[in-house]
Symmetry: C2
Amino acid sequence: MSSVPPIAFSAKARRTAEQPISYLIAVAKANPQLISFAAGLVDPLTLPTEETLAIAQRILSDKDRARDALQYGTTVGYKPLRDAIVRHLEQLEGKPAAAMSISADNVVLTTGSQQALYILADILLDPGDIVIIESPSYFVYAGALSSFGARIIGVPMDRDGMAVEELDKLLHRLESHGELPRVKAIYCQSYFQNPTGLTLSLPRRPRLVEIARKYSRQHRILIIEDAAYRELLYDGEALPSIKSFDPTNSMVASCYTFDKPFAAGIKTGYAVLPPDVAREFTEQKGNHDFGSSHLCQQIAYEALADGSYSRHLTELHDAYRAKRDVMLAAMEKYMPAHPQVQWTTASGGLYVWLSLPLAVNTSRNGGMFDRALGEGVMYVPGEYCFQPDEHGHVPQNHMRLCYAVTPIEQIETGIERLASIVRRALVPAEPARAAQDSLTL
Amino acid sequence: MSSVPPIAFSAKARRTAEQPISYLIAVAKANPQLISFAAGLVDPLTLPTEETLAIAQRILSDKDRARDALQYGTTVGYKPLRDAIVRHLEQLEGKPAAAMSISADNVVLTTGSQQALYILADILLDPGDIVIIESPSYFVYAGALSSFGARIIGVPMDRDGMAVEELDKLLHRLESHGELPRVKAIYCQSYFQNPTGLTLSLPRRPRLVEIARKYSRQHRILIIEDAAYRELLYDGEALPSIKSFDPTNSMVASCYTFDKPFAAGIKTGYAVLPPDVAREFTEQKGNHDFGSSHLCQQIAYEALADGSYSRHLTELHDAYRAKRDVMLAAMEKYMPAHPQVQWTTASGGLYVWLSLPLAVNTSRNGGMFDRALGEGVMYVPGEYCFQPDEHGHVPQNHMRLCYAVTPIEQIETGIERLASIVRRALVPAEPARAAQDSLTL
């Protein structure tokens, strides 16, 4: 390589940084005895091995069916699956698809929901465009948005999810600064957000659509609804999606996946899109890959059609609920009682978000992270989940704790270790605040 | 939708046109009795249904193995498969991987070879950058390159593939015009090119690497080698890849697929990359989708490991060779004897490229295309495969004929119909040229 000059990579490649999670995965691999609350994978013990075997046998032992599954599919995806998804959405929303102006034509299959989110960015964003996201938010998508040269602006969250009235104020400010023409999208994880586990409350859902519509002056500001965790609901109330409050199917692009609720290995997700967005999305996906694995889409279809998807979900709920309960019980038991040691308790998803006093530094280079590793436990530093403020600062007093992959019998020990590290890191208590305001999330 | 303003799509989305093949697919679907030589799919009768069933059963009936396959994989791809690919490449090239400076670290799994080609464009191209391709070339990739705002310049082909000395002259011209800094890549389909079926001759392979290296002044000009059809070799000599003439693994990025030689439905391809390109490529793919289906990668691995891949290839060769022979025999039998009615005869791949006198118009709106449809036969107009010249003109006197999907018993009838249409379209013979020069391809 020394005799050749360097590659002149594209501006986008130069804006693409290694995902911080890669480092965490490498650390976990090198330390198999580590109790890791960092990995955002799915619980391997919950994977539907028997169901998928039965489905694969059914598809592949019927010659015609097998030939169809092993042939190329279309870019937009397997039609029976798109039909089944529409029926599935009707069940989830409790209303007919027509009431949301949705048909199979509005559904595009993707390689996981990540690809759906990515292609939405690809068709929307030019360098300098603005995307508004929750603060904190899903760091992988924030990294992808940055690769497009987007300006990412965070809106604070509280216990009810994105503070939509703050969003309204933000958009108003952007408008008064003449920046509204650059605002392309509002990214919202509507269920059990990664990293906080928080869910957008019911009243905020139609309000979010209303706000996006209000500021859609010369062009439409699209709401990108990430509903990847929607069906990981262990107790409490099932909420209709943001999209369900978009009766003309014009304001919201919703992204789902079969990876979390069924099997990550089939890497099959989908987007439910307004017609004009669906058209551009599909053309772009044609360039990307011409369509995701047809075999995997047929497996997803069979899982929906034969009921193994919903049966599997019930098992999954039991397994994750138990893990969540163990983690929350251990948090209660071991975490020091301190007004600024707080954590979220979600009715679904995979995450607990732990907030510590400002003086505690959870960042990768802050000491505590290495201390935790030394004591055999790993978390995701919360700093990854925030956008830097105008001084380049991000909050460094949070942790994302995922209970999905950790064996249930290790969770209590892991939290005990972590709590001990937290206790030692606590300086004498800061004066208690009146309340945990949104910024302390 | 009427009450909301339009979406402000990205510049890239605005540069993304519907692939012309979409229209052809729609026409074929609407006319199931049509004899189509247009579809570039694989022959459904050759698909390895029994092999894939056996593999799926093996993977999914072993609980641990099944859990691994149904879990997320890594972005770069399944390690045992990357190792197996390196051994497979050693067999294909007839030399050790070390002689090409290749290891599993240089192999990245993708969603078909299309995604590999796409991500290479994504990490290399800014608007205005130049990519040199064969003329004619694979229209889907040309469309993708255009979406990046790339300037695409064609190099003529002759019976030995890309005319590399013409490439040398082109690069020299670009350099003298100060445009060399914009040249990022040379795209070459090294085996049984789509659309012509032509293969880059052995002596031209090292010469191509030499030329790319020579003009890599301030930055490296990467050769993107599309080897998707490499293993569809029915008779004749197996050639080493362009990459095999890049001993330091610095000049060539090669793209392969399991879709054509094994099963399109698993949509699994791979790229073999210089280390710096592999790094950027993997980071970018992390943003795109985090990694392709782990289950499909494990199926591909098993197919390589248990020998079903190579056994299947033998069957595939027999099936495609028979179809090619029927098509070529029918061309000989029915096509009018005319000095400017010529076609390629390839020892592999899926395509025959038919060249007609300049006065004959094969384009979608040229009359002949609809006449052919009316008589129950479809081809791909050659116009799609060329870049417009400075006057916006493209050659309109070619057809791409694919024998892959057409049932073998329909091929002769289809060619007979087409030949009859061609005969009627021939104006009194133009004066015969001294030889078919490269431009008439």
